[in-house]
């Protein structure tokens, strides 16, 4: 950690600035309280959100899944915060660790910019379409729309967890069985230095057309639920397009940040992203994102992936039960 802070002075600067900023905000807090929230309580929410966001960012970057996968379902499942606000802030959580980790990933050659641009079009278009649909649904369907969103997200999370389980640990360095004509034509091959093995790994992308179509679906779902799309980028790149696991995880972070940067503008322009609520999540993602990017180069993602599977399954249970509760009026005693 100490050597990382020396090597990355801007990270040190950000950490020190954040500590000083939150110290000043706590010591010279001039806010007026409300009936349910004191000025100190407001400060506590900001600092708590920042700490949680930093932890989520580290896990998300190492796992290549995007923080929105953790933030959005947990907030939807365990708080009464409006779904539109959760989804807009979820995009902030999903994208900023990816944005800031793009620098270290690209410098180390861990993320492949050509793969990223190829997959970006369907992700970006799908992401914007998804967020527009989400805003429309929130206006048109009210509480029932909320319940349907929670229920659908719960089912999707089970599906995601299953993909991680079935994907298994044998996908780190996939060798394609067959080259199709399009992949030969595109010549998407590259190599990177694998620090954990101490050698260079070569790879070649296959099934680009199927990958393109799947990324459209991923983008829409990510924009709609505020998940950010990272939950499925790694499986599609790794299992469908035969990209090595580590390149998939890094490129996924870069790609989802790009897609979410387009998806989040309708929320910003429409006033659905509230600055005071989203800001500590953004700061945590930036600091955690830089830390995570440097950690990823050294560790295997399998451990983080197992944690994610457990979290995803637990959260999906809660989301499904809350969705059914609202739609049917039946009380389900869970957590």
């Amino acid at each position: 950690m100490a050597s990382l802070l020396k090597r990355v002075p801007e990270l040190t600067f950000l950490i020190v600035l954040t500590i000083v900023a939150y110290g000043i905000m706590g010591s010279f807090n001039e806010l007026a309280g409300t009936e349910i929230l004191s000025p100190t309580g407001a400060w506590g929410i900001i600092v708590g959100s920042f700490v949680l966001s930093t932890i989520i960012a580290i896990v998300a970057v190492v796992g290549g899944v995007g923080g929105g996968v953790l933030f959005t379902p947990v907030m939807l499942g365990f708080t009464s915060v409006d779904t539109l606000l959760i989804r807009s802030t979820g995009l902030v959580v999903a994208m900023f660790s990816g944005l800031v980790s793009s620098g270290p990933f690209m410098r180390k050659g861990l993320a492949d910019i050509r793969i990223v641009f190829y997959c970006a079009i369907p992700i970006v278009v799908g992401g914007v379409a998804g967020s527009l649909t989400a805003i429309y649904m929130a206006d048109a369907m009210g509480a029932n729309g909320d319940a349907i969103v929670r229920l659908l997200l719960g089912v999707i999370l089970v599906f995601i967890a299953l993909m991680f389980i079935l994907g298994g640990s044998n996908t780190e360095y996939p060798v394609p069985k067959k080259l199709d004509k399009l992949s030969e034509l595109m010549n998407l091959k590259s190599s990177y230095y694998e620090e954990s093995l101490g050698k260079t790994v070569h790879y070649r992308v296959v099934r680009p057309l199927l990958g393109f179509a799947l990324f459209g679906v991923v983008g829409f779902t990510g924009g709609f639920f505020g998940l950010g799309g990272g939950w499925a980028v790694v499986p599609v790149m790794n299992l469908v397009m035969a990209v090595p696991l580590k390149i998939s995880a890094a490129s996924s972070g870069v790609l989802l940040a790009m897609g979410n940067a387009a998806a989040i503008w309708p929320y910003i322009v429409g006033g659905s992203l509230i600055a005071v609520f989203a800001a500590p999540w953004m700061i945590g993602q930036v600091i955690g994102g830089i830390l995570g990017a440097h950690i990823l180069a050294r560790v295997k993602a399998a451990f983080v992936r197992n944690i994610l599977i457990v979290l995803l399954l637990l959260t999906s249970l809660k989301l499904i039960s809350r969705g059914i509760e609202t739609l049917t009026g039946i009380d389900i005693p869970l957590l």
Partner: protein, 166 residues
């Protein structure tokens, strides 16, 4: 040899060919592609700048009592489960467009500007990277980058918000 055996034979040949192609590549530690480095560094530094502005905005929010909407009111409303319309009703309704630009001297306005700057960083990064790809003769990927960049420009100008049905 029946049809099934021929299929297996063909697949094995394909696998050998792919393995040979991969082996033919050099085993030197590869240099990171310039287009990627340009993209990553542009975003990285703009995001860091955005984070710094956001932090300054947060301090301003808490210390100077200069806000477009009171942070405690906003946080209370959010935790009470109020929706976007209800929250913004305190200042006359949900704003349209980049509301924070005329309110940069307020704490929450500056905070929002920092967030928006961080998001905006993607757009110049994509176009800078596209330029490098074109210069390297990789027109397909350069063109894909330009399309992605144009979509983000459309999104940030609010044009896509107009697609939401009333």
């Amino acid at each position: 040899m029946n049809v099934h055996d021929e299929d297996i034979h063909e697949e094995l040949n394909d696998q050998v060919e792919i393995a040979q192609q991969i082996q033919e590549q050099t085993d030197d530690a590869p240099v990171a592609p310039l287009a990627g480095v340009v993209y990553g560094d542009t975003i990285y530094w703009i995001t860091v700048a955005g984070a710094v502005i956001t932090l300054l905005g947060q301090i301003w929010s808490f210390v100077a009592q200069s806000n477009y909407m009171s942070p405690t009111y906003v946080l209370s409303s959010i935790w009470q489960g109020k929706n976007v319309d209800e929250i913004w009703s305190a200042v006359g309704g949900v704003p349209n467009g980049h509301w924070y630009l005329p309110h940069l001297w307020t704490g929450d306005g500056l905070t929002m500007a920092g967030l928006a700057l961080g998001v905006f960083g993607v757009t110049p990064a994509i176009f800078a990277s596209a330029l490098v790809l074109y210069r390297q003769g990789q027109r397909l990927f350069g063109s894909l980058a330009v399309i992605a960049g144009l979509i983000t420009v459309l999104a940030l100008t609010g044009v896509m918000g107009g697609l939401i049905p009333e």
